[in-house]
Amino acid sequence: MKKQTFRRICLLLSLVMVMSCALSTTAFAAGETWTVTCPWAPDGVASLVSQKAASLSTEYSDDITLVAEAIKGDAATVNTWVLDNEAGDTGLVFVGEGLLSITATMDPAKMQFGYEDFAFVENLYSSVFVLSADAKLEINGIEDLKAFVEGAEEITVATNGATGSEAFLAAALFGSMGAGDALKLVPYQSAAEAAQAVSRGETDFAVSHQSQILETYNQGGVTVVCAFDEGPIENGPFAGVEGVGEYGYPYFRNRCFIMARAGTDEEKVAELKALYDDILADEEVVEWLHDTMLLEVDTMDVEAVEEHIANVKGIVEEYIDIVQPA
């Protein structure tokens, strides 16, 4: 081997070693390491908040280090997680109403798990979905929406995916307004695509998280009609937008439950809950969730979780025929 080549290889190896050392300092920490699996897109809201929480775990605990990972796959990823983890294992996973209420009702065969396989730790956040409309339609509130629905032969709504939370919220709103037959759900591959579709007039409406429609709204492409919540949005760029609950229409928030495997030591679960509560009470996190992600800190207990799952299940069962006609 030539000297020059040998030197180059040595240089390359040293570089790799230095970088590995630098990176490993972030990967290894004292205490127990809990891997938090997010079964949705790595660029999604849940994964992002999980990463943020994990990056702060060592500040609030000497014993527990949270490591966030995202393995896109929804039910398939949770199936694998349930198979791979036993009670007492240091693994956490996210589940939400999408799996426990929607998939469990529409396609239970996809799930090799149930709510009973988990021990609830904490709710990571709460997100209020909003209905946005093509700006040209000039629909600025629920009264405008009612007038539009009365005269419309067809109502098109862009949603992220065909049978997700967004699709059911649209079905529940227009279904309860008596326009279920006129509703046409147009599924897109992402919330960003759905937001763009409504702004260029491809559909009349879109349902999305607030943060996902914000830029399109700022550029004047859409108006925000209503929020899928009990009352009006209290703060942020959409403050004052009416909640559908005020008019008696059904709604639910998007929540992300952090779960341990059922049977995990209750004290450990309580310790994890306390850690998450501390992180979620951090002012920087609250501000970031609020201002950048347009989400809310919404810590919950088991009863509230079960109530949420049952509420969404009820909506799914009532409006399934609109989302997925036989």
Partner: protein, 503 residues
């Protein structure tokens, strides 16, 4: 814009940023050179590292990985006939034959120079035309996206090899395989046969490992040991690119960069589509189309410039509209959001310095990619002289590790093996594997846009001709088909002439 350039330069040109760019470029190039380890996977893995950084160094690190990943995929494509990433598959068609001719260093250099040009071209497009281009991209709706896909499918003719019929059959097979998984419009399962993991569809990177990497190994296993040894001692690979070759590279590189920018700004498309479009156009416009597939410098330059030109273009909708241009950029969005930056035009007024620092940084990333590439090329080129009995098991290990790492699941390893068997059978039937890949790349996108457009128009096909952009794409499709037919007729003429003489 000008008022932001000076403060942005001040924010960008720090030792910390330059260090992170270089670390990112190195990691991206090496990672992408390993089959199965895609750029998106690399960005996901290293994303948590950026959470302790501020926005600019974090983005510089990730952009380093992203851009160098675009180039890195070509390394294994050229060296071992296995694209490191899906978007380097087109580079493989001419890069590896060049390497086999004893011009490994030259092939790597062509890929590097074309990648750098494409990267800088798109970074300049982002810097100077970002908001205008984004507004144009926002006009492209579902019917226009379908037309882009149809245009993409015309490439099949160019990569079908000796028989177009066989190419079309292979492409149809790819399109059929792309249907596996949940129906994107209804969520009903298709071709899953009750297998849980199939609900998600098949990952392109995993299919690629089976189709190109593992089947290559099986192919080697069929050969006699004497046939495997490449006599590298006789190869004088000085890495020189001749003046004539530089001239020939120019047009496909510029055109490829332009195609890369256009494809990159359309959300949902990405580097794979861009490199195939560019490769196909370069072949159609070349004075030497017969060289394509046999070591054409134009082919390497076209595909590499296009897949790297996507890097800056995908950032255009992200930074101006908050819409990620592709999956990797969507993950990079996290690095901005975790720092409290919600991308969009409004951010240009509130945080203009940071936005322009990121855009300027993209140029810097490409410059460092060129410098590192120049140092690494001779080292990479040594791979061809590694004895096969050492190299082959290493490739196999990387293939299986790569397949597993995509979803951290052994199921994907099995999928890679199934695709290996399929590719081997197709090889025996003399069917080209590249059209299958094209079918996989374009299948879901074509189907989704086709069905969604018809859903919106209540089944009226005139939706596909409803805008001026649709008509532009119709024109391009007609042009592409016309060029292909002309080429096929030209190929037939010389064959027909000797036949007539014999008569």
């Amino acid at each position: 814009m000008l008022q932001h350039i000076v403060p942005a330069s001040g924010l960008l040109f720090t030792l910390q940023n330059i260090l992170w760019i270089n670390i990112g470029v190195f990691i991206g190039a090496v990672f992408a050179a390993i089959p199965g380890l895609t750029v998106i996977l690399c960005v996901i893995l290293f994303l948590p590292v950026t959470y302790s950084m501020s926005a600019i160094p974090g983005m510089m690190f990730l952009l380093g990985i992203y851009c160098a990943g675009g180039y890195g995929g070509s390394v294994s494509a050229i060296l071992i006939n296995t694209p490191g990433t899906p978007h380097a598959a087109a580079t493989m068609l001419d890069g590896h034959p060049l390497s086999k001719q004893g011009r490994t260093k030259a092939a790597l250099k062509i890929a590097l120079y074309a990648s750098t040009f494409g990267g800088i071209f798109s970074a300049l497009a982002l810097l100077f035309l970002g908001p205008q281009v984004a507004k144009f991209a926002a006009q492209l709706g579902t019917p226009e996206c379908f037309m882009v896909c149809v245009f993409g499918l015309t490439i099949i003719a160019g990569v079908s090899g000796k028989s177009m019929i066989r190419g079309i059959i292979a492409a149809c097979l790819g399109l059929l395989i792309s249907c596996i998984g949940s129906d994107p419009m209804t969520s009903y399962d298709r071709f899953t046969f009750g297998v849980g993991r199939l609900y998600l569809g098949l990952d392109l990177a995993v299919c690629l490992i089976g189709l190109f990497a593992l089947v290559e190994i099986v192919g080697r296993a069929e050969k006699k040991p004497d046939e495997l040894h490449m006599d590298t001692s006789k190869m004088r690979d000085n890495g020189v690119i001749t003046k004539d070759e530089y001239k020939r590279m120019a047009r496909p590189t510029i055109l490829g960069s332009l195609i890369g920018v256009i494809v990159g700004i359309i959300p949902g498309t990405g580097a794979s589509e861009a490199s195939w479009f560019s490769y196909s156009q370069a072949r159609n416009l070349s004075k030497h189309p017969e060289e394509f597939g046999h070591g054409s410098v134009e082919g390497v330059a076209a595909s590499e410039s296009a897949n790297n030109a996507v890097t800056g273009a995908t950032l255009i909708p992200l930074l101006t509209l908050g819409i990620p241009g592709d999956g990797t950029v969507a993950i990079m969005l996290s690095a901005l959001m975790i720092n409290g930056l919600n991308p969009g035009l409004s951010l240009f007024t509130t945080q203009g310095d940071i936005m322009y620092a990121i855009m300027l940084g993209l140029i810097l990333v490409n410059v460092f990619m060129l410098l590192q590439g120049k140092v690494l090329t001779p080292i990479f080129a040594k791979v061809v002289s590694i004895p096969q009995e050492i190299l082959t098991p290493i490739i196999v290990i990387f293939c299986f590790a790569g397949a597993y790492s995509v979803n951290k699941n052994y199921f994907d390893v099995a999928v890679a093996l199934v695709f290996c068997v399929l590719a081997w059978l197709l090889r025996k039937l003399d069917m080209p594997p590249v059209p299958i890949l094209l079918g996989l790349v374009l299948g879901k996108m074509t189907e989704t846009n086709f069905r969604r457009a018809l859903l919106i128009s209540n089944g009226n096909p005139s939706v596909f001709f409803s805008s001026v952009y649709c008509w532009i794409f119709v024109g391009l499709i007609v042009l592409a088909v016309g060029t292909i037919l002309r080429g096929k007729l030209r190929e037939k003429k010389p064959q027909a002439a000797p036949a007539a003489k014999e008569e």
